[in-house]
């Protein structure tokens, strides 16, 4: 009998310890706010979108036509870069990839939770600024995830009466 009680006690203590540890460390469950991976080419948004004021949709041209804003294909980079800064080692790498027809494997920054369908087109056409979700992207030398992209964060906006946005589950989950 005492033996069994001891086992239960040890089990309970262990569970409490794990729970306590979890609360103490406050792990950001599944969200990646602040995530800033290193990219294969150090593309600088603060230069292109900030200093040079190239409109976002010059490169992310899909954003108002489709669900994905899509990372631009290399031919869009090369529109300028077959003239501009051709001697830079990064641009040389870019040009090599383009000429060989190889893609650049960018690190994905914004990770939406699974089973969510987000539609860029609807938001862009509604006049939602890119910065609303992506933050001050025109100042970012290296892009990081600005918002936590959690459902609570989405719904906070959708619920505002002035936005007149749908809040059905099936708007995003299907």
């Amino acid at each position: 009998m005492p033996n069994k009680n001891l086992k239960v006690l040890v089990g309970v203590v262990a569970l409490v310890l794990i729970a306590g540890l979890a609360v103490f460390m406050k792990p950001p469950i599944g969200y990646n706010q602040g995530y800033q991976p290193t990219q294969p080419i150090p593309y600088d948004h603060s230069l292109h979108a900030g200093k040079l004021e190239i409109p976002c949709q010059y490169c992310h041209s899909n954003a108002s036509y489709a669900r994905h804003s899509s990372v631009p294909a290399l031919n869009i980079c090369m529109n300028c870069h077959n003239q501009v800064k051709t001697q830079s080692e990064h641009i040389k790498k870019l040009a090599d990839h383009y000429n060989e027809g190889k893609s650049i494997q960018w690190q994905k920054v914004h990770l939406l939770p699974d089973f969510v369908h987000f539609n860029h087109q609807r938001h862009v056409r509604r006049g939602v600024a890119c910065q609303t979700c992506h933050g001050p992207i025109e100042t970012m030398k290296e892009v990081f995830q600005y918002s936590d992209l959690s459902m609570g964060w989405c719904v906070n906006c959708h619920r505002k009466p002035e936005n007149n946005a749908p809040v059905s589950c099936s708007t995003c989950h299907y």
Partner: protein
Amino acid sequence: MKDMQNNNEKKYWKSIDQLENEARFNEMAEAEFQTSPLKSEDGNDGLARRDFLKLMGASVAMSATACVRRPAQKIVPYAKRPEDLVVGKPNFYASVLADELSGAGLIVRTREGRPIKLEPNPANPASPKGISTRMQAHCISLYDPERLKQPKRWITEENFHDRKWNLLTWEKIDDEVIGLLEKENVTLITNNYSSPSRKALIDDFMAAFKGSKSFVWNPLVDSAESSAQERSYGKEVNVRPLFEKAKYIVSVGADFLGEDPRAHEYATAYAKTRNPDGEMSRLIAFEGMLSLTGMNADDRIRVKPSQFIDVLMGLAHEIVVAQGNGTVNSTTKAKLVEFADVAEKLHIDADLFSEIAKDLWKNRGQSLVLTGGTYAGVENAEDLYVAANFLNTVLGNDGKTIDYAKNNYTTINAKQSDLEAFLAELDAKKNKVLIVENLNLVYYGGETVKKAIRDFQDAGGTFIYMGFYQDETGDMADILLPIDHSLEAWGDAEFHKGVYGIQQPTIRPLHNSRSLEQSFLNWAYALQAGSKRLQGSETYYDYVRSYWKSDILKNSKNGQAFEDFWFELLQKGVYGELAENVNLPVRSFKQSALASISSGKAEGMELSLYTKAGIGDGKYANIAWLQEFPDPVSKVTWDNYATFSKATADKMGIKEGTIVTLDVEGQKVEVPAYIQVGQHDSVIGLALGYGRTKGGRVANGVGVDAYPLIKRVDGKPVFAGRKVVAAKTEKFSPLANTQGHNTMMGRQIIVEATLDSYKKDKSAGIHKHKFLESAWGKHEYKGYRWGMAVDLNSCFGCGSCVVACQAENNIPVVGKKYVLEGREMHWMRIDRYYSGDMNNPDSHVMPVMCQHCENAPCETVCPVLATVHDDEGTNSMVYNRCVGTRYCSNNCPYKVRRFNWFALTKGDRPEDTPREAYNPRVTVRSRGVMEKCTFCIQRIHDVKDTAKNENRTVRDGEIKVACEEGCPSGAITFGNMNDPESRVSKLFESQRTYKLLEEYLAVPSVRYQTKIRNAKRENTDHHGEGSH
């Protein structure tokens, strides 16, 4: 009337088990989920204590590691994005599927360059509305991992055991073949095709090698039709029945709604005549087995295949001699008198028989007498056709409901007798090169063909097989060449005389394959042989273009420049028009053609070999979708089986799954039995297309091969009417039948009324309940409210919607083992009920999918709010909330929710859908979540997007859900119930509309329209008329 119809209260029943109320059925009906996942492993129900602790430990460990970031993902954009491609949006291309014996215009839906689904081409006047099951399967066969990928050469070394396949390049292969062609002539045999360019190219190529011979053969091509045309009218022709003009149809063994290669086209046309508010046609079916046509017939009469001839001649006797209509000479009259007492001889209701004859005459010029196909593939099949031709001539249908010259079929080049001619040619050993293309000759032809090819090879011949798989035939080849999929290659098709379609590729060849056409062009060019066009075309694309320019456009008065024409053609996909109104003179019938016809000698049990709507001739047997597609008649998956009538089975002591031995004139097969009500007592049916040995990992070992049971008389195959002796064995093999469960336990489900009672009361047959008030408040729908109308009167139960839904919604295949456990995943099913006398019952079919109830019972029981109502009336399923309690499924009165017991989408089983074939727009579900029909919500979203961009509301009919799109007969209509002008709203107002299990007050958004049968007998369902 029918065999028996004395009970006023007609009992609907779903399976024989249910009718007999066997214990097994009740057990199955009670249990929605038939087994626990752990039951088979540890023998106990539920989780053992130790397992529970293990799982607990694992989940604690998981929760401790959950804060780690998910694995980094990559974004890989195009290097050079194609101009017309927007990432995330589908592109559509007009193309053609030229199946062996039929063709249809298509729209191919592609995503990021991958074809993912086939859709019908509305611009095509000649093609059917929907997409058949096999066409949809054809699309994913593109991604079949077991496709032949490389050209191969069978190397025989000195030591016999060192024989092996050597992978070779096309250059090496070309060198060898060109070397052979320099010296030797070719014997070519291909499958039937409907491409005029290809025909021209093969003719060009064969002409370049004098002494070469080409053959076209297909195991199911019905050559009796054209030869009977010659015997009757003096000219070989393939006629086209015009169902849309026929008011009275008599089918003698012709399953034009199910088995026929053009069933989809015919269903589209036939559905047009089934409007109960207009002039509704009447369909009479004489048949031995129960077919889809018989299930949909207004009156169905059971006859053995060998006595079909008596039916046709008996009808002729009734019309001409007994009722004195039509003019024939005295010899013919004397011939017809031989068939004076057919009704008595065949035990058919004599009154009904003479009534049919009278009605046929009354509707002369607007009736249609049909025969043909495997069900009518008896030894004297040509006589059947001749007799049918005679009837159609006497009735003046020829040229009115039978089109023999305007837009008839011109592309059935295959001849059944070509197989014998081919074997004789091979035996003569004149030509040293044998090319077989896209034709699994060894599987279809069996040992005879195998031996002939072996002899040919032993005599030093080279056998080149151009095929899609390394199948039974490919395995024997010396040189094995992979051919392109039709979605990878250029081509064309002639649907009907004068109506053409263009096949444009939608993807580059995935493997190192090359079409027959391109190979022939290369070889001819290297040898400097053949016509100028053959020499001048570098690719088959060039050849097709020059053929269209010179041959198809030749007759056109269109002054358009060719490039403009071509551009328009690629957009539209089709060229040519169907004649508006076919009104040709009746051809004169050679009455001597009837002279050799004699009465059928029916004795003992008769074999009836047939093909199933899913598997067909067996070509697509490696596509798991088709294997798991429940047969429209029997609802059995993953097998073929010998079908017995209930009476015969009882007499022999056979139950469903009992293995029987069929002895057909010495040839024996062992096969499980299936009890098919409505079948003639002396007929045993068996489906072709199964029992593949080298068909691939999915196809191999499923069912038994019935091709060896085809007898060939003078090169003509005999599918039906052979004598068969069946013997019961003690062995048992369960059939994976989807019908014994998901039962609705005998409530008002399918409502049916006769045309007469419908004319008196538009809501005939519908039982109305007086409702209690619902306890639930009403939802408010400010914008759209989606609804679906299913017109049971236009639904023939073909099941195209089931596979269309599977393709659209990434529905996995579970395999036979789990179908047996009731775990199939199809989001929609076709329920099939029988009623009345079980010897010849009425059959009723009904598509059932999630009913998207207003007061959905599933929503109230979900503990985690994973299934909820949305503000447009759909019942949505949130996969990431679902924890798999299955309460919703338990509470669903329609049993339309499917649970993922396993991860069936990982791609580690042969049955798994290839990854590339998934629709990226739809979530791929994994283990542990519930799923069900979503009303194709992704399509709703996409169309709403377009509408919002254009600042308007969604137009009626703009959203087409997958099942609606796949349906050939327009039975399914989807739309906005909030718009009073929409088609659904109009249909819902119709008095024929009822809700399934209305008394539950679930208020479904899917509503059904009653089936109206143009039959004389009264037809009340058990629930009774009126209300309570």
